[in-house]
C-alpha cells in the first residue's frame, strides 16, 4: 500500500476543503466515511476511486489525486449518494465542483465526456436550444468515432426524431447574452 505523509498534506487540505466549500457549499468534514454513498452508487463499478474515497482524498488534501481522477467525470449526477447520506453531504455537488476545478487546471481524463458537454453548450449558445443531430455529428467527428450509432440514424430520420436543420429561437440574442454575461462575471454564485 502506498504511504502518504499526512503532515505535509494537512495545510494543503485546508485550502482545497475551503475552496470546495466556497464553490459548492459542501463541507467534506461532515463526512464520517460510512460508505453508504459508494454502496448505492450505480457508477462505482467503473470508477478509479469510489465516491467515499473521493471525499477522503479531499479530506486528506490529496489535491492532485482528487482532481486527476476519472471518478469525478464518471459521476452521472444521479444524486443517489446525497439522497441516502446520513450526514447530508451533497456528493454530486462536490463532484461537480471538482470537475469544474479540474477542468480549469487542464485535467480532463475523460475527454469524450468533456467534449460532449462542450458541444452541447455550444449548440445551446448558437441556437437557444440543443440541435441533437448537429451535436451527434460534431461529437462523432471530433471524438473520431465516425460511424458511432450510424445504424440508428435512418429510423430516427423517418420518425422525425432528428432534424437536419437546427431549431432556432427568434429571441436567440437573449440566450447569447446570457452566455456572454456569465463568461464576463468571472466569479460564480453559490
Amino acid at each position: 500500500m502506498e504511504r502518504i505523509n499526512l503532515s505535509t498534506t494537512a495545510a494543503e487540505s485546508r485550502t482545497l476543503r475551503e475552496q470546495i466549500k466556497a464553490h459548492s457549499g459542501v463541507d467534506v468534514k461532515d463526512c464520517y466515511q460510512c460508505g453508504k454513498c459508494t454502496a448505492g452508487c450505480p457508477v462505482a463499478f467503473a470508477m478509479d476511486y469510489t465516491p467515499r474515497q473521493v471525499i477522503r482524498l479531499v479530506q486528506l488534501g490529496l489535491k492532485d489525486e482528487a482532481l486527476k481522477c476519472h471518478s469525478i467525470w464518471l459521476c452521472a449526477c444521479c444524486e443517489t449518494c446525497y439522497a441516502r447520506c446520513p450526514r447530508q453531504v451533497d456528493l454530486a455537488k462536490l463532484m461537480e465542483a471538482l470537475r469544474i476545478e479540474a477542468k480549469g487546471m487542464g485535467y480532463i481524463p475523460e475527454k469524450n465526456v468533456d467534449l460532449f458537454n462542450d458541444l452541447f453548450l455550444k449548440s445551446v449558445e448558437k441556437n437557444g436550444r440543443v440541435h441533437e443531430m448537429g451535436l451527434i455529428l460534431q461529437y462523432n467527428l471530433q471524438s473520431r468515432q465516425f460511424l458511432k450509432d450510424a445504424t440508428l440514424a435512418p429510423k430516427l430520420f423517418t420518425d422525425g426524431k432528428i432534424h437536419i436543420a437546427a431549431e432556432k429561437i427568434a429571441d436567440n440574442g437573449a440566450v447569447k447574452r446570457i452566455f456572454d454575461k456569465v463568461r464576463n462575471m468571472g466569479e460564480e454564485v453559490k
Binding site: P42, E96, H163, A174
Partner: protein, 299 residues
Amino acid sequence: MKYAYYPGCSLNSTGIEYNVSAKAVAKHLGLELWEIPEWNCCGASAAHNTDHLLSLALPARNLAIAEKEGLDVAVPCAACFNRLKATQQAVRQSSATKETINSVIEMEYQGTNDVLALSEALVRAFSLESIKEKVVRPLTDLKAAVYYGCLLVRPPELTQFDDAEDPQSVDNIITALGADPVNWAFKVECCGAGHSTTRPDVGLPMIDKILADAKANGADCVVTACPLCFLNLDMRQKEIEQKYDRSYQLPIFYFTELMGLAFGYSTKDMGVNKHFVNPMPLLEGKDLLRHPATRRDEA
C-alpha cells in the same frame, strides 16, 4: 385549468412521442398547456457540470416568462424539471443569487410560480379518480415496471416529488388506467444518462441491469417519465441484447402514451409507432387495442 408548458429540447426531437401524447392527454382532460414562447434549453447536465451560474440563468429565463403570465410550469422531462426546480429554489433562498440571475437574464424572476413534473401536475389538476373516469379502454393485465430514474425524485429536498426510494405517483396513474405495476428493485436506479453515448462501456451495463430486473420481475413493459431514460431503454435495447447476448424485447412507454391509449386514442396518435422496440405485439397480444366501446363494457 391552465399551466405554462416547458417541453424542453428532447420533446421536439428524440422524445417526440412524449410531447405528442402529453399534449393530447392534457387536452382530453381539459387542461390548457401554454407553451412558453421562445423557450430556451435548460442547459441540462452540461451546464451544471461547467458553470453554476449558467445552469441557473438558462432555466430562469423560461421561468420568468411563465411568471409574467402568472402560471405554474408543468415539465414533462425529468432532467428539465430538476434544473428548473433548482433555479426556483436558488432564487427563493437567496436574494443575492436572485439579483445576479436577474441581471444575467435581463428579466425579473421572483420565484413566485411553481415548477411541477407533468405527472404531478396532471394529478393535482384532475385527481386519480377523475383520470380513472376517463378510461374507456382499460389496460387490463398489462404488467408495467414503472421507472422513475434519478432527477424526478432526487435530491428529495429539491424535487419534493414523492418518495425518493419507492415513489408511487406514476404507479398510481398506471393503476388508474387498469394496468398492474410490478414490484421491482430498479425504479429509481440511474440509467447512466449520457454515458451510453460518451462511455458506452459504462452506460450500457447500467441500462442492461434495469431491463434485466424489470424482466425478472415479470414486467411486460417499462413505463418512463423522462425522454433520456426512454431513449436509453428503447433505442439502446437491441445493441444491449446483441452485446450481452440477451433477449428482452421489452417495450418502453411514456406514461402519457399509456394514458392516451386507455382514453381511446390510436397508437399512431400517441406516437407509439415510432418506438425502436415494437410494442404492437404486446398491445395486440393483450388485446388492449380493441374498440373502446366494447372494451369498457367488459371491464
